[in-house]
Point group: none
Chain length 225, copies 2
Protein backbone atom coordinates (compact mmCIF):
# COMPACT_ATOMS: atom_id res chain seq x y z
CA UNK A 1 0.00 0.00 0.00
CA UNK A 2 1.43 3.25 -1.04
CA UNK A 3 1.67 5.94 1.55
CA UNK A 4 -0.07 9.11 0.41
CA UNK A 5 1.74 12.18 1.58
CA UNK A 6 -0.02 15.38 0.77
CA UNK A 7 1.06 18.88 1.62
CA UNK A 8 -1.38 21.19 3.37
CA UNK A 9 -1.88 23.04 0.10
CA UNK A 10 -2.70 19.90 -1.78
CA UNK A 11 -5.24 18.92 0.85
CA UNK A 12 -6.85 22.34 0.63
CA UNK A 13 -6.95 22.14 -3.13
CA UNK A 14 -8.58 18.73 -3.06
CA UNK A 15 -11.13 19.87 -0.53
CA UNK A 16 -11.90 22.97 -2.52
CA UNK A 17 -12.44 21.08 -5.75
CA UNK A 18 -14.81 18.79 -3.92
CA UNK A 19 -17.00 21.54 -2.51
CA UNK A 20 -16.84 23.63 -5.65
CA UNK A 21 -18.00 20.72 -7.73
CA UNK A 22 -20.87 20.02 -5.41
CA UNK A 23 -21.99 23.59 -5.35
CA UNK A 24 -21.62 24.45 -9.00
CA UNK A 25 -21.84 21.23 -10.94
CA UNK A 26 -18.68 22.03 -12.86
CA UNK A 27 -15.03 22.01 -11.79
CA UNK A 28 -13.09 25.17 -10.92
CA UNK A 29 -10.43 26.77 -13.07
CA UNK A 30 -6.80 26.96 -12.07
CA UNK A 31 -7.23 30.58 -11.12
CA UNK A 32 -10.32 29.90 -9.06
CA UNK A 33 -8.41 27.28 -7.15
CA UNK A 34 -5.52 29.65 -6.65
CA UNK A 35 -7.75 32.32 -5.27
CA UNK A 36 -9.48 29.91 -2.93
CA UNK A 37 -6.31 28.50 -1.40
CA UNK A 38 -4.23 31.68 -1.52
CA UNK A 39 -1.83 30.82 -4.30
CA UNK A 40 -0.78 33.77 -6.35
CA UNK A 41 0.67 32.00 -9.35
CA UNK A 42 -1.31 29.84 -11.72
CA UNK A 43 1.76 27.76 -12.35
CA UNK A 44 1.91 26.75 -8.70
CA UNK A 45 -1.67 25.55 -8.81
CA UNK A 46 -0.81 23.68 -11.99
CA UNK A 47 2.22 22.17 -10.29
CA UNK A 48 0.19 20.95 -7.32
CA UNK A 49 -2.60 19.65 -9.51
CA UNK A 50 -0.05 17.51 -11.32
CA UNK A 51 1.11 16.23 -7.95
CA UNK A 52 -2.46 15.20 -7.19
CA UNK A 53 -2.59 13.41 -10.53
CA UNK A 54 0.60 11.55 -9.62
CA UNK A 55 -1.08 10.41 -6.44
CA UNK A 56 -4.05 9.27 -8.44
CA UNK A 57 -6.46 11.55 -6.63
CA UNK A 58 -7.65 13.50 -9.63
CA UNK A 59 -7.57 13.26 -13.40
CA UNK A 60 -6.89 16.10 -15.78
CA UNK A 61 -7.82 16.69 -19.39
CA UNK A 62 -4.99 18.66 -21.03
CA UNK A 63 -5.76 21.97 -22.69
CA UNK A 64 -9.31 21.88 -21.44
CA UNK A 65 -10.77 24.56 -19.26
CA UNK A 66 -12.06 23.14 -15.99
CA UNK A 67 -10.78 19.77 -17.20
CA UNK A 68 -10.75 18.19 -13.77
CA UNK A 69 -12.32 15.11 -12.32
CA UNK A 70 -12.13 13.64 -8.87
CA UNK A 71 -11.36 9.97 -8.59
CA UNK A 72 -12.30 7.85 -5.61
CA UNK A 73 -15.03 10.26 -4.68
CA UNK A 74 -15.59 9.77 -0.96
CA UNK A 75 -19.03 10.46 0.39
CA UNK A 76 -19.32 13.57 2.51
CA UNK A 77 -19.60 13.07 6.23
CA UNK A 78 -23.19 12.96 7.33
CA UNK A 79 -24.85 15.10 9.89
CA UNK A 80 -25.22 13.42 13.26
CA UNK A 81 -28.77 12.22 12.95
CA UNK A 82 -30.61 8.97 13.26
CA UNK A 83 -32.54 7.34 10.55
CA UNK A 84 -35.99 6.06 11.22
CA UNK A 85 -38.83 4.63 9.26
CA UNK A 86 -40.91 7.76 8.92
CA UNK A 87 -39.80 11.13 7.71
CA UNK A 88 -40.39 14.22 9.67
CA UNK A 89 -37.54 16.53 10.47
CA UNK A 90 -34.32 17.63 8.88
CA UNK A 91 -31.64 19.01 11.12
CA UNK A 92 -29.82 22.01 9.77
CA UNK A 93 -26.66 23.51 11.24
CA UNK A 94 -26.86 27.08 12.37
CA UNK A 95 -23.42 28.04 11.18
CA UNK A 96 -23.24 31.75 11.83
CA UNK A 97 -24.90 35.03 11.42
CA UNK A 98 -25.77 37.20 8.49
CA UNK A 99 -25.69 40.97 8.37
CA UNK A 100 -25.33 43.59 5.71
CA UNK A 101 -21.74 44.27 6.68
CA UNK A 102 -20.63 40.63 6.85
CA UNK A 103 -19.86 38.16 4.10
CA UNK A 104 -21.72 34.89 4.40
CA UNK A 105 -19.69 32.29 6.30
CA UNK A 106 -18.04 29.78 4.04
CA UNK A 107 -17.86 26.01 4.63
CA UNK A 108 -14.22 26.04 5.63
CA UNK A 109 -15.09 28.46 8.39
CA UNK A 110 -17.13 25.95 10.30
CA UNK A 111 -16.07 22.54 9.08
CA UNK A 112 -18.18 19.46 9.36
CA UNK A 113 -18.90 19.31 13.05
CA UNK A 114 -21.61 21.31 14.67
CA UNK A 115 -22.57 22.10 18.17
CA UNK A 116 -25.66 20.20 19.11
CA UNK A 117 -27.27 23.41 20.32
CA UNK A 118 -26.86 24.91 16.90
CA UNK A 119 -29.06 22.51 15.03
CA UNK A 120 -32.30 23.88 13.70
CA UNK A 121 -35.11 21.41 13.24
CA UNK A 122 -37.24 21.92 10.19
CA UNK A 123 -40.07 19.76 8.91
CA UNK A 124 -39.19 18.06 5.71
CA UNK A 125 -42.39 19.39 4.26
CA UNK A 126 -40.64 22.75 4.16
CA UNK A 127 -37.23 21.98 2.75
CA UNK A 128 -38.39 19.20 0.50
CA UNK A 129 -35.99 16.66 -0.93
CA UNK A 130 -32.88 18.84 -0.79
CA UNK A 131 -29.89 16.97 0.55
CA UNK A 132 -29.33 18.01 4.12
CA UNK A 133 -25.63 18.45 3.51
CA UNK A 134 -26.44 21.37 1.25
CA UNK A 135 -28.54 23.12 3.84
CA UNK A 136 -27.43 25.60 6.41
CA UNK A 137 -29.00 28.28 8.52
CA UNK A 138 -27.97 31.76 9.54
CA UNK A 139 -29.27 34.06 12.21
CA UNK A 140 -29.96 37.58 11.04
CA UNK A 141 -28.37 40.29 13.13
CA UNK A 142 -29.36 43.90 12.80
CA UNK A 143 -32.13 45.54 10.87
CA UNK A 144 -30.34 45.77 7.57
CA UNK A 145 -32.57 43.17 5.89
CA UNK A 146 -35.76 45.00 6.64
CA UNK A 147 -36.39 45.61 2.99
CA UNK A 148 -36.36 41.85 2.53
CA UNK A 149 -38.99 41.63 5.27
CA UNK A 150 -36.47 39.93 7.50
CA UNK A 151 -36.09 41.08 11.07
CA UNK A 152 -33.31 41.00 13.62
CA UNK A 153 -33.15 37.52 15.12
CA UNK A 154 -34.85 35.73 12.24
CA UNK A 155 -33.35 32.50 11.00
CA UNK A 156 -32.74 32.11 7.30
CA UNK A 157 -32.59 28.61 5.89
CA UNK A 158 -30.46 28.36 2.79
CA UNK A 159 -29.36 25.87 0.20
CA UNK A 160 -25.75 26.41 -0.69
CA UNK A 161 -25.46 27.20 -4.37
CA UNK A 162 -23.70 29.79 -6.49
CA UNK A 163 -26.07 30.15 -9.36
CA UNK A 164 -29.74 30.89 -9.29
CA UNK A 165 -32.76 31.01 -11.48
CA UNK A 166 -34.72 34.15 -12.08
CA UNK A 167 -37.14 34.78 -9.27
CA UNK A 168 -35.15 32.86 -6.69
CA UNK A 169 -34.64 34.55 -3.37
CA UNK A 170 -30.90 34.47 -2.74
CA UNK A 171 -28.27 35.66 -0.34
CA UNK A 172 -25.72 37.59 -2.34
CA UNK A 173 -22.41 39.26 -1.62
CA UNK A 174 -22.01 42.48 -3.59
CA UNK A 175 -18.28 42.79 -4.03
CA UNK A 176 -18.29 46.41 -5.04
CA UNK A 177 -20.40 47.55 -2.12
CA UNK A 178 -18.86 45.09 0.33
CA UNK A 179 -22.32 44.11 1.40
CA UNK A 180 -24.50 41.08 1.97
CA UNK A 181 -28.17 41.20 1.14
CA UNK A 182 -31.25 39.05 0.61
CA UNK A 183 -33.07 39.75 -2.59
CA UNK A 184 -34.99 38.19 -5.40
CA UNK A 185 -32.66 37.49 -8.29
CA UNK A 186 -33.28 38.37 -11.91
CA UNK A 187 -30.54 38.15 -14.52
CA UNK A 188 -31.30 40.72 -17.19
CA UNK A 189 -28.71 40.79 -19.92
CA UNK A 190 -25.36 41.19 -18.21
CA UNK A 191 -26.70 42.94 -15.18
CA UNK A 192 -28.71 41.65 -12.28
CA UNK A 193 -31.87 43.09 -10.87
CA UNK A 194 -32.14 42.54 -7.14
CA UNK A 195 -35.71 42.97 -6.05
CA UNK A 196 -36.61 43.42 -2.39
CA UNK A 197 -39.36 41.18 -1.05
CA UNK A 198 -41.10 44.26 0.24
CA UNK A 199 -43.17 45.43 -2.73
CA UNK A 200 -42.89 49.02 -1.59
CA UNK A 201 -39.13 49.08 -2.10
CA UNK A 202 -37.36 49.67 -5.37
CA UNK A 203 -34.97 47.17 -6.95
CA UNK A 204 -31.26 47.76 -7.32
CA UNK A 205 -29.23 46.94 -10.41
CA UNK A 206 -25.72 45.51 -10.28
CA UNK A 207 -23.34 44.19 -12.88
CA UNK A 208 -23.47 40.40 -12.98
CA UNK A 209 -19.81 39.96 -12.15
CA UNK A 210 -20.23 41.86 -8.91
CA UNK A 211 -22.95 39.53 -7.66
CA UNK A 212 -21.72 36.53 -5.70
CA UNK A 213 -24.57 34.23 -4.88
CA UNK A 214 -24.04 32.54 -1.54
CA UNK A 215 -27.18 30.43 -1.40
CA UNK A 216 -30.83 30.21 -2.19
CA UNK A 217 -33.29 31.04 0.53
CA UNK A 218 -35.69 28.19 1.20
CA UNK A 219 -37.42 29.52 4.25
CA UNK A 220 -37.37 32.15 6.92
CA UNK A 221 -38.28 31.29 10.48
CA UNK A 222 -39.09 33.71 13.23
CA UNK A 223 -39.83 32.56 16.73
CA UNK A 224 -41.28 35.04 19.15
CA UNK A 225 -39.79 34.47 22.55
Amino acid sequence: MEQINLSARQKKILKFIETFLKENGYPPTIREIGEAVDIASTSVVNYNLNKLVEHGLIERAPEVSRGLRLVGQEPLPELPVQYADSKVVTQIPLVGKIAASLPVPQPEDFGYYYDKDDLIEVPQSIVGAVSSTDLFALRVTGDSMIDAMVADGDIVILKRQNIARNGDMVAVWLSERGETTLKKYYLEGNRVRLQPANPMMDPIYVNAEQVNIQGRVLAILRTVH
Copy 2:
Protein backbone atom coordinates in the same frame (compact mmCIF):
# COMPACT_ATOMS: atom_id res chain seq x y z
CA MET B 1 -48.81 21.97 -14.73
CA GLU B 2 -47.00 23.46 -17.64
CA GLN B 3 -46.46 21.26 -20.61
CA ILE B 4 -42.82 21.03 -21.55
CA ASN B 5 -42.36 21.15 -25.27
CA LEU B 6 -38.84 20.56 -26.46
CA SER B 7 -37.58 20.62 -29.99
CA ALA B 8 -35.60 17.65 -31.29
CA ARG B 9 -32.45 19.72 -31.05
CA GLN B 10 -33.07 20.59 -27.48
CA LYS B 11 -33.64 16.97 -26.59
CA LYS B 12 -30.40 16.01 -28.28
CA ILE B 13 -28.53 18.73 -26.45
CA LEU B 14 -29.91 17.65 -23.11
CA LYS B 15 -29.04 14.05 -23.80
CA PHE B 16 -25.54 14.96 -24.90
CA ILE B 17 -24.84 17.06 -21.82
CA GLU B 18 -25.93 14.14 -19.70
CA THR B 19 -23.63 11.60 -21.31
CA PHE B 20 -20.75 14.03 -21.62
CA LEU B 21 -20.97 14.84 -17.95
CA LYS B 22 -20.98 11.19 -17.05
CA GLU B 23 -18.00 10.41 -19.24
CA ASN B 24 -15.83 13.40 -18.43
CA GLY B 25 -16.85 14.68 -15.06
CA TYR B 26 -17.16 18.22 -16.39
CA PRO B 27 -19.75 19.84 -18.63
CA PRO B 28 -19.20 20.42 -22.37
CA THR B 29 -18.54 23.77 -23.99
CA ILE B 30 -20.93 25.40 -26.38
CA ARG B 31 -18.74 24.35 -29.29
CA GLU B 32 -18.54 20.76 -28.11
CA ILE B 33 -22.30 20.65 -27.90
CA GLY B 34 -22.60 22.15 -31.36
CA GLU B 35 -20.29 19.57 -32.84
CA ALA B 36 -22.13 16.73 -31.16
CA VAL B 37 -25.59 17.72 -32.34
CA ASP B 38 -24.56 19.13 -35.72
CA ILE B 39 -25.04 22.81 -35.09
CA ALA B 40 -22.61 24.97 -36.95
CA SER B 41 -23.06 28.20 -35.03
CA THR B 42 -22.22 28.68 -31.39
CA SER B 43 -24.95 31.24 -31.10
CA VAL B 44 -27.56 28.67 -31.98
CA VAL B 45 -26.33 26.40 -29.26
CA ASN B 46 -26.39 29.34 -26.92
CA TYR B 47 -29.92 30.12 -27.99
CA ASN B 48 -31.16 26.61 -27.34
CA LEU B 49 -29.36 26.40 -24.03
CA ASN B 50 -31.24 29.48 -22.92
CA LYS B 51 -34.45 27.78 -23.95
CA LEU B 52 -33.56 24.85 -21.74
CA VAL B 53 -32.93 27.27 -18.90
CA GLU B 54 -36.37 28.76 -19.44
CA HIS B 55 -37.84 25.31 -19.13
CA GLY B 56 -35.94 24.85 -15.91
CA LEU B 57 -34.03 21.84 -17.20
CA ILE B 58 -30.54 23.25 -16.81
CA GLU B 59 -28.88 26.14 -15.04
CA ARG B 60 -26.17 28.32 -16.51
CA ALA B 61 -23.45 30.42 -14.94
CA PRO B 62 -22.93 33.49 -17.12
CA GLU B 63 -19.51 34.16 -18.55
CA VAL B 64 -18.21 30.87 -17.25
CA SER B 65 -16.74 28.26 -19.50
CA ARG B 66 -18.58 24.98 -19.17
CA GLY B 67 -20.88 26.74 -16.75
CA LEU B 68 -23.68 24.22 -17.05
CA ARG B 69 -25.55 22.14 -14.56
CA LEU B 70 -28.39 19.74 -15.01
CA VAL B 71 -31.28 20.24 -12.65
CA GLY B 72 -33.37 17.41 -11.41
CA GLN B 73 -30.31 15.22 -11.55
CA GLU B 74 -29.52 15.75 -7.91
CA PRO B 75 -28.02 12.93 -5.95
CA LEU B 76 -30.53 10.71 -4.24
CA PRO B 77 -32.77 12.52 -1.83
CA GLU B 78 -31.60 12.28 1.71
CA LEU B 79 -33.11 9.65 3.91
CA PRO B 80 -35.60 11.19 6.25
CA VAL B 81 -34.44 11.53 9.81
CA GLN B 82 -36.10 11.42 13.13
CA TYR B 83 -35.36 10.80 16.74
CA ALA B 84 -36.12 7.20 17.49
CA ASP B 85 -38.42 7.65 20.45
CA SER B 86 -39.62 11.22 20.86
CA LYS B 87 -42.23 13.00 18.86
CA VAL B 88 -40.61 15.96 17.17
CA VAL B 89 -43.30 17.61 15.15
CA THR B 90 -46.61 19.04 16.04
CA GLN B 91 -49.26 19.25 13.40
CA ILE B 92 -51.12 22.50 13.41
CA PRO B 93 -54.31 23.18 11.47
CA LEU B 94 -54.17 25.96 8.96
CA VAL B 95 -57.62 27.26 9.65
CA GLY B 96 -57.84 30.31 7.49
CA LYS B 97 -56.30 33.50 6.44
CA ILE B 98 -55.49 36.70 8.18
CA ALA B 99 -55.65 40.14 6.68
CA ALA B 100 -56.10 43.64 7.98
CA SER B 101 -59.69 43.77 6.89
CA LEU B 102 -60.72 40.40 8.26
CA PRO B 103 -61.41 39.30 11.81
CA VAL B 104 -59.46 36.25 12.94
CA PRO B 105 -61.46 33.08 12.33
CA GLN B 106 -63.03 31.72 15.45
CA PRO B 107 -63.10 28.03 16.42
CA GLU B 108 -66.77 27.66 15.58
CA ASP B 109 -65.95 28.86 12.10
CA PHE B 110 -63.88 25.85 11.24
CA GLY B 111 -64.91 23.12 13.62
CA TYR B 112 -62.75 20.20 14.56
CA TYR B 113 -62.07 18.62 11.24
CA TYR B 114 -59.34 19.79 8.96
CA ASP B 115 -58.29 18.99 5.48
CA LYS B 116 -55.19 16.88 5.56
CA ASP B 117 -53.47 19.29 3.19
CA ASP B 118 -54.00 22.07 5.64
CA LEU B 119 -51.84 20.72 8.42
CA ILE B 120 -48.62 22.58 9.06
CA GLU B 121 -45.78 20.58 10.53
CA VAL B 122 -43.70 22.40 13.09
CA PRO B 123 -40.84 21.04 15.14
CA GLN B 124 -41.66 20.79 18.80
CA SER B 125 -38.49 22.70 19.50
CA ILE B 126 -40.27 25.76 18.18
CA VAL B 127 -43.69 25.60 19.77
CA GLY B 128 -42.49 24.00 22.99
CA ALA B 129 -44.84 22.19 25.30
CA VAL B 130 -47.98 24.05 24.28
CA SER B 131 -50.93 21.75 23.89
CA SER B 132 -51.53 21.21 20.23
CA THR B 133 -55.24 21.81 20.63
CA ASP B 134 -54.50 25.44 21.49
CA LEU B 135 -52.44 25.98 18.37
CA PHE B 136 -53.60 27.15 15.02
CA ALA B 137 -52.08 28.70 11.95
CA LEU B 138 -53.16 31.40 9.55
CA ARG B 139 -51.92 32.38 6.17
CA VAL B 140 -51.31 36.07 5.69
CA THR B 141 -52.94 37.57 2.63
CA GLY B 142 -52.03 40.98 1.39
CA ASP B 143 -49.35 43.36 2.42
CA SER B 144 -51.16 44.96 5.30
CA MET B 145 -48.85 43.40 7.90
CA ILE B 146 -45.71 44.81 6.41
CA ASP B 147 -45.12 46.95 9.45
CA ALA B 148 -45.03 43.74 11.47
CA MET B 149 -42.38 42.44 9.08
CA VAL B 150 -44.85 39.88 7.83
CA ALA B 151 -45.25 39.37 4.11
CA ASP B 152 -48.02 38.16 1.87
CA GLY B 153 -48.08 34.37 2.01
CA ASP B 154 -46.39 34.01 5.38
CA ILE B 155 -47.82 31.57 7.88
CA VAL B 156 -48.42 32.76 11.40
CA ILE B 157 -48.50 30.18 14.16
CA LEU B 158 -50.60 31.22 17.09
CA LYS B 159 -51.65 30.03 20.51
CA ARG B 160 -55.23 30.84 21.21
CA GLN B 161 -55.47 33.10 24.25
CA ASN B 162 -57.31 36.26 25.16
CA ILE B 163 -54.87 37.89 27.50
CA ALA B 164 -51.24 38.71 26.95
CA ARG B 165 -48.24 39.89 28.83
CA ASN B 166 -46.39 43.02 27.98
CA GLY B 167 -43.95 42.40 25.15
CA ASP B 168 -45.92 39.50 23.68
CA MET B 169 -46.52 39.55 19.97
CA VAL B 170 -50.26 39.14 19.51
CA ALA B 171 -52.92 39.09 16.87
CA VAL B 172 -55.55 41.63 17.87
CA TRP B 173 -58.90 42.73 16.55
CA LEU B 174 -59.41 46.46 16.92
CA SER B 175 -63.16 46.82 17.21
CA GLU B 176 -63.24 50.53 16.58
CA ARG B 177 -61.18 50.35 13.45
CA GLY B 178 -62.63 47.04 12.28
CA GLU B 179 -59.13 45.81 11.69
CA THR B 180 -56.88 42.87 12.47
CA THR B 181 -53.20 43.44 13.13
CA LEU B 182 -50.07 41.82 14.50
CA LYS B 183 -48.25 43.91 17.06
CA LYS B 184 -46.28 43.78 20.26
CA TYR B 185 -48.57 44.36 23.19
CA TYR B 186 -47.93 46.76 26.06
CA LEU B 187 -50.65 47.63 28.56
CA GLU B 188 -49.96 51.14 29.83
CA GLY B 189 -52.54 52.33 32.35
CA ASN B 190 -55.91 51.90 30.67
CA ARG B 191 -54.68 52.16 27.17
CA VAL B 192 -52.66 49.78 25.08
CA ARG B 193 -49.53 50.55 23.11
CA LEU B 194 -49.25 48.41 20.02
CA GLN B 195 -45.69 48.44 18.75
CA PRO B 196 -44.84 47.25 15.24
CA ALA B 197 -42.02 44.74 14.94
CA ASN B 198 -40.36 47.00 12.45
CA PRO B 199 -38.36 49.42 14.60
CA MET B 200 -38.71 52.13 11.99
CA MET B 201 -42.46 52.31 12.46
CA ASP B 202 -44.27 54.21 15.18
CA PRO B 203 -46.59 52.58 17.73
CA ILE B 204 -50.32 53.15 17.89
CA TYR B 205 -52.31 53.71 21.05
CA VAL B 206 -55.76 52.26 21.61
CA ASN B 207 -58.10 52.12 24.55
CA ALA B 208 -57.82 48.79 26.29
CA GLU B 209 -61.48 47.87 25.84
CA GLN B 210 -61.18 48.14 22.08
CA VAL B 211 -58.37 45.59 21.95
CA ASN B 212 -59.48 42.00 21.45
CA ILE B 213 -56.58 39.64 21.68
CA GLN B 214 -57.09 36.68 19.38
CA GLY B 215 -53.93 34.80 20.12
CA ARG B 216 -50.27 35.02 20.87
CA VAL B 217 -47.84 34.66 18.00
CA LEU B 218 -45.38 31.84 18.56
CA ALA B 219 -43.67 31.80 15.21
CA ILE B 220 -43.78 33.06 11.69
CA LEU B 221 -42.86 30.84 8.82
CA ARG B 222 -42.07 31.92 5.32
CA THR B 223 -41.27 29.46 2.60
CA VAL B 224 -39.84 30.76 -0.63
CA HIS B 225 -41.42 29.12 -3.65
